[in-house]
């Protein structure tokens, strides 16, 4: 940019003018206005409504907040929702690191194939992927047929409506969100660093834990953020595979708003979900800053 400015051409100067630090509002303004009207405003309204007392929105007392946070059932729902997010992050991490390592060690043609294998499920409807797990986990499903055929159990195991079944399904549904940022970061690691570690006598395990893992952490943080946010709010998977026995925050929002029609109480649950996700994101961001500063 400096070299062009040095030529002193009037046209060049005119064209450089908009490349300053200010936002070009005629271009960014329309989406900004649309987001203010249809994204920020509804979220502010959600926050405001949570403080109303009744469904007719007449009295502001904040009593629904008291009701929500003094009920042990809803406290356990928050805990269970957080736990689901954490366990899904853990499961996707354990599977994504090895696949990303294999990806980076593969030939370009194999990489192309693997990338399609990762992207395909991501772009397939969540409803379809949830449905797939019903076929797999049901009493007459793939896993139970295999167990009965092999004689591992005399009766079909209950897999639907269990935490295990739900985490397994969510692992498949969310894994691409972990893999894509992880692969992007791992690809950028200088192969000389890895070779140096090996040449200096470090085993493959030691090279992984002391060289590759620390260098991949920014990608992991990005992936973990997406997986956590997505699994915590995966209403369809939670309700279809978790069933009525396992209640999470999204189904409380759904029940209270569309079945019971208690909007203020549903708003409390929705704000709690928002805050839960934001807290998770902030913790992960803080972690990445600390790791980067090491």
């Amino acid at each position: 940019m400096a070299s062009v400015a040095a030529t002193g051409s009037a046209e060049a100067k005119a064209s450089m003018a908009p490349r300053r630090d200010g936002v070009e509002w005629p271009l960014a303004g329309p989406l900004g206005l649309a987001y203010t009207a249809f994204f920020a405003a509804p979220l502010l309204l959600l926050f405001a409504i949570s403080f109303y007392d009744d469904s007719d929105l007449t009295r502001i007392t904040g009593s629904q907040w008291v009701k929500f946070f003094s009920d042990p059932f809803y406290l356990s729902v928050i805990g269970r929702t957080l736990q689901l997010g954490a366990v899904t992050v853990l499961a996707t991490t354990v599977l994504s690191f090895p696949l990303a390592l294999v990806f980076c060690a593969s030939r370009p043609s194999v990489q192309k194939l693997l990338l399609l294998i990762i992207i395909m499920p991501l772009l397939t409807s969540v409803v379809v992927r949830t449905f797939a797990w019903i076929v797999i986990l049901a009493r007459e499903g793939v896993i139970n047929q295999a167990i009965l055929t092999l004689g591992l159990s005399a009766t079909p195991l209950p897999l639907l409506q269990t935490e295990f079944g739900l985490v397994l399904a969510l692992t498949q549904i969310e894994m691409p969100l972990m893999l894509l940022p992880l692969i992007t970061v791992m690809r950028a690691i200088d192969p000389n660093v890895v070779d140096a570690s090996r040449a200096l006598g470090a085993s493959r395990w030691r090279t992984f834990f002391q060289v590759i893992l620390p260098l991949s952490l920014p990608g992991w943080v990005a992936g973990a953020t997406l997986v956590f946010a997505s699994s915590v709010t995966a209403f369809i998977s939670q309700s279809v595979i978790g069933g009525g026995r396992l209640v999470f925050l999204p189904s409380v929002i759904w029940q209270q708003s569309m079945v019971v029609y208690n909007w203020p109480f549903a708003a409390v649950a929705a704000v709690t979900l928002l805050v839960t996700v934001l807290t998770g994101i902030c913790l992960l961001a803080a972690l990445s800053v600390r790791l980067a500063g090491r």
Partner: protein
């Protein structure tokens, strides 16, 4: 690098290879299972199917028996087309207006426009329902277009921003120094170079709208039924095998579209 097979070497290869294999099986297995199940002759989801046929696809495409599914599918398609056109226009303009700017406002806008990617859209769906109800609107397809637009805009915005970042500034400078105005430079230089990024982003936005559950859950009703919501209803009540056939159609469409987009704009590099 030739090395002796130490126990560490062997265990590393076994564990990493095993887990990577498991990851691939978990990623692909369910999709294959659905495709096979959709071809069953049985009225249940028993796996493996007792026989293969296209009878559930015939039932799915039957205009009378599956009328409600067809209405939901056409609603879903129209909302996706409308919302994608809207966010492509607004998202590309916004990306150009922000890209390369370092001010506080630019950062705030960028984070705001990417917000729906990580914020729970379910909470937003419910918020949008209350917002539109209190303003006196009844559920309709235009409201769904607005609701979808908010949550799918980040995809096209993000890929366009990424393409603009990779743009060589010296190209724009040469164009300007050769006397081209800002608009000519945009039309002749910038737009052709960022077009693949825009196309990839518009495609991702479109798919996100087709698959959207959290917003449709709250903004659609019996009259403006959407496909994912109807399929969810069918899954919750009776396990209708037409859900497997509908899944088969959706999977096949995604496979075809992804392969085409990969050829045309290198989709996987832009995700």
């Amino acid at each position: 690098m030739a090395r002796r097979s130490t126990p560490a070497e062997v265990s590393y290869k076994l564990v990493i290879g095993g887990l990577a294999g498991l990851a691939i099986a978990i990623l692909v297995g369910p999709i294959l299972v659905v495709l096979i199940t959709s071809l069953t002759t049985a009225p249940s989801l028993k796996f493996p199917p007792p026989g293969l046929s296209f009878k559930w696809y015939e039932a799915l495409f039957d205009p009378i028996r599956s009328r409600h599914i067809h209405v939901a599918a056409s609603n879903t398609l129209w909302v996706a087309v409308g919302a994608t056109l809207l966010v492509t226009l607004l998202g590309v303009a916004a990306a150009i207006g922000i890209s390369g700017k370092r001010g506080v406002a630019a950062r705030a806008l960028e984070n705001g426009f990417l917000g729906p990617l990580v914020l729970p859209t379910l909470a937003y769906g419910f918020a949008a329902l209350m917002f539109f109800s209190l303003l006196g609107f009844r559920p309709s397809l235009p409201l769904l277009v607005i609701g979808h637009a908010v949550v799918i805009a980040p995809f096209v915005f993000r890929t366009t921003m990424a393409s603009l970042t990779q743009l060589d500034p010296s190209l724009l400078e040469s164009s300007a120094s050769l006397g081209a105005g800002r608009f000519t430079t945009f039309r002749r230089i910038t737009l052709p170079l960022i077009a693949p990024g825009i196309a990839a982003g518009a495609f991702l936005s479109f798919i996100a709208s087709i698959d959207n559950v959290p917003v449709s859950l709250f903004l659609s009703n019996a009259r403006t039924d959407m496909l994912p919501i109807r399929l969810w209803g069918m899954m919750e009540s009776t396990l209708d095998v037409r859900v497997a056939a509908a899944s088969g159609v959706l999977i096949a469409s995604v496979v075809v579209l992804v392969v085409v987009m990969e050829r045309l704009v290198g989709l996987s590099r832009r995700m």
